[in-house]
């Protein structure tokens, strides 16, 4: 009888342990929305990406629609090439969608914001977003401000 009680207690212990692992996986690290590589890729060229990082969010209207999957430097155009992986459920971005790099809050991380355009055709896998706006670099802004002050 005591051996049965011990076994039940150990069973509970194991169940609790696995439940804790599942909680860590689902609730803390969000396995459910980590969809892997499905989705379609579009590229965008920026003059300056600031502090943008791989896996940074891509948002349209503030909603997370994808993530940055690759960042490289193109030596022919002297621009940064950013590959975005957009989720399959958001297929209807017009061809003239604009991509800009924003900062979330004052100290927050940087993300890409998409503003849909008016074209009839939609972005497909491998397409390029041509309308881009580089990240705001604080030093440049201050420099421009000082320059315009001086010229007055």
């Amino acid at each position: 009888m005591t051996s049965r009680k011990i076994e039940i207690a150990v069973g509970l212990f194991m169940a609790l342990g696995f439940a804790a692992l599942v909680m860590l996986a689902m609730q803390v690290s969000n396995l459910s929305s980590f969809g892997g590589s499905d989705g379609y890729k579009v590229s965008a060229y920026f003059e300056n990406i600031g502090g943008l990082k791989v896996r940074a969010p891509v948002r349209a209207g503030g909603v997370l629609v994808g993530r940055v999957s690759e960042i490289s430097y193109d030596e022919e155009t002297y621009q940064a090439e950013v590959t975005l992986t957009l989720e399959d459920q958001y297929r209807a971005f017009p061809l003239d969608t604009a991509a800009s790099i924003y900062t979330a809050g004052l100290l927050g991380e940087q993300y890409i914001g998409l503003e849909p355009g008016a074209e009839e055709d939609y972005l497909q896998d491998g397409d390029e977003i041509t309308l881009t706006q580089p990240a705001l670099v604080l030093e440049q802004v201050i420099g421009q401000f000082l320059f315009s002050q001086a010229s007055e």
């Binding site: 051996s3 011990i6 076994e7 207690a9 150990v10 509970l12 212990f13 194991m14 609790l16 342990g17 696995f18 439940a19 804790a20 692992l21 909680m23 860590l24 996986a25 609730q27 803390v28 690290s29 969000n30 396995l31 929305s33 980590f34 969010p57 809050g105 004052l106 100290l107």
Partner: protein, 259 residues
Amino acid sequence: MLDALQRIGQTGLTFFQRLGRGHLFLLAVLAGCGSAFVRFRLIIQQMYSVGVLTLVIILVAGLFVGMVLALQGYYTLVDFGAEESLGVLVSLTLVRELGPVVSALLYAGRAGSALTAEIGLMKATEQLSGLEMMAVDPYKRVFAPRFLAGSFSVPMLAAIFSAIAVIGGYLVGVPLLGVDEGAFWSQMQANVDLTADVLNGVIKSVVFGIVVTWIAIFEGNDCVPTSEGVSRATTRTVVNASLAILGLDFVLTALMFSA
């Protein structure tokens, strides 16, 4: 002068002899693990005494560690207006470091010392020799089930510790300090990675479980079979296991999070 040299040499030799005996012992225990699975009931019984009985201290400690982390983190983060990152701070600290390390330390104090004392007394009262006289291999019957039970239990305890501590952090952070609930969870989910953070934490706790249980059983089997020897062995278990946990934690962290 020569006496001092001799003492240094003796200390070194004893150290390396014990290190060698420890590794041979580990090999023998690992060899006995196969037949321990056949008598699974023994493993379950040991999991009760090392795992289930450690659960209470893990739950209470986890809850309070999470609550203190949230409290301290909040006062630092609020200066930067970044108190929404409290969830990230609490969960990353726990999943990567505090969960595996603190639960292994608690396990070494609560269950490791008990293992050493039990086996040491078995040796002192010549139960181990008695088993051998009856042609029962103590490695298979006594050591291997305890080793396996400890190695299974510690990752479980660490996961429970982290989970309950995240809940403790939530309880202090959201209802008490007024951090936004959505930001707390969503920032946590966006910044904690399953493989890089959670899985590495589990790997750490598996390593700690194996090492602590190994040290505990070895010290018990290696003790001088007197009451004083058993007490010394118990102390050595707690000290050596804690040092091993902290040292290994640095090595594992350097290996895992350097890239």
